[in-house]
């Protein structure tokens, strides 16, 4: 992960991101008992692309602080520097044979789109 602060993107970016996304006013990594405020919630919500009404921000900040405070117990625990465990399966992931495994289902998947035309997904205009 990158550290430090960078300006938030002005234009909407694809959703598959959070790595590399940055919360402004980043405290040191060890500071657990952070109390996040409405501005931070607004920023997290922006990163997650979830609309939150201004008047809901303080209540949401209180809820998130409750959860973050709770998981902050990890800060006080004697965890040491054991190897992080990302995945429980102690096996090398298997590779498939390099053969065609499924038929073309483009039409079936395009039919699920809320708005599509000529085999393209339609979204509001991005470039003026």
């Amino acid at each position: 992960m990158k550290k430090g602060s960078a300006p938030l993107p002005k234009k909407a970016k694809p959703l598959n991101q959070p790595s590399g996304s940055v919360i402004q006013n980043t405290p040191p990594a060890r500071a657990f008992r952070v109390s996040i405020d409405s501005a931070t919630v607004r920023q997290i919500a922006h990163l997650a692309r979830i609309g939150v009404a201004e008047q809901q921000l303080p209540a949401l900040a209180a809820e998130l602080n409750g959860v973050l405070d709770f998981v902050g117990q990890l800060a006080a625990a004697d965890i040491g520097a054991v190897e992080p465990l990302a995945h429980p399966l102690d096996e090398t992931l298997s590779l498939r044979d390099d053969v065609v495994s499924s038929i073309d289902q483009r039409d079936a998947f395009m039919r699920l789109a809320p708005d599509a035309q000529s085999g393209l997904y339609l979204v509001p205009k991005v470039i003026e």
């Binding site: 959070p18 940055v22 992080p84």
Partner: protein, 484 residues
Amino acid sequence: MSLRSVAQLAQDLSARRISARELAEESLARAEKNQALNAFVTRCENVAMAAAAVADARLAAGNSDVLTGIPFAHKDIFCTNGIRTSCGSRMLDNFVPPYDATVSRQLNDAGAVLVGKTNMDEFAMGSSNESSFYGPVQNPWDTTRVPGGSSGGSAAAVAAGIVPFATGTDTGGSIRQPAAFCGITGLKPTYGRVSRLGMIAFASSLDCGGVLARSAEDCAHVLAAIAGHDAGDPTSSTRDADDYLGGLNQPLAGLRIGLPRAYFGAGIAQGVGSVVHTALAELEKLGAVLIEVDLIHADLAIPTYYVIAPAEASSNLARYDGVRYGYRCANPTSLEDLYTRTRAEGFGAEVKRRILVGTYVLSAGYYDAYYLRAQRARRLIANDFNAAFAQVDVLAGPTTPTVAFKLGEKSSDPLAMYAADINTVAMNLAGLPAISVPAGFSDGLPVGLQLIAPAFAEARLLNVAHRLQQATDWHTRTPEIAHG
């Protein structure tokens, strides 16, 4: 009918004492009659009758499997070709998958008859089934109480005698906890034992498909149909599945059962603890030896889980953007507006809370302090189990700290809800198989005994649970509603 076991029903079917069609009709009628439980999001009469006809033809041709003609329900998280798969969310209220999950295909191939898709906490995030877009499910033992979650509809449907088994998924206890609350048997297999292809993702390193049924033997029949490697899921194990039925009657003499002190701690209701000790005494009578053990990092399990699960969820649920499938907000004014309003309107409060927590703990500057630290704690938790299994064959304890709580009792307090997962989340972190079996009653409500085994020792778990169920009758108790 559905109070009979899978094995009994299979015998009746193959002897032609009853037809798959009759069983399907009976199951659908019971689902209809018990609509107030809200166990089903979708009932599929036509699909069921067509599958029953195929099953009857197979039975007549002598080309049947033990599950052929047996009615069942899928948790609405398993994709079913042509049948709406909502995951309990407004986001997928209109989603009709064009393909089957591997588990769906396996059960179809076995000839089991799908009668409906069951209600669940939204995207499997919850321990009470109250976060569903389709409303809460009632516990068949006391309709003012929760059935547990997130596989609450599946547990209620089995407990109410609507189906003899149902599928479920377990990310932090979502099969075992509702099984305990509803007085049935629920098996969470080892991570990677059952394919996740077509099982809608919540937290990909924790999610496990499994089964809820009336007995360990019935769980073994279903596990036999769904266990095994799937080339479509590279995280499914390449190990061969074991013979889950062949070893059910192994004697338990000399079996070492470890009792983690942490699982009998102060948070465990007295009634629950004493019921579980009674069940353990039954296992002792069968020759098992009880040994107290320590899982020294047990208290880290919940905070670790509530960092890792939301982190993975925030990443997995990024796909719901209103562009390719699922809900889209009305009249978006820009792409940003399309994303943010679709997600604000399509997701419920608990899902949004977890996405926001996950986004926060993965963001630069916080990643090391939360996510990386949680992954280290996860290693310690897994190591504790390895150390324990050097001394004992299985671990045991109460599945849940209390019996089923009242609807609404914890729905406004996420932390109280998370605390109810105290005895179930660690197995998902470590990837271990675990089963909840009925152990008796406290205040008239079912109590679950949880048994935990080393990775891929499902056959051992099922053996212990089956022997207990041969010697006791708690699993045969049914709520009033199942007879009405």
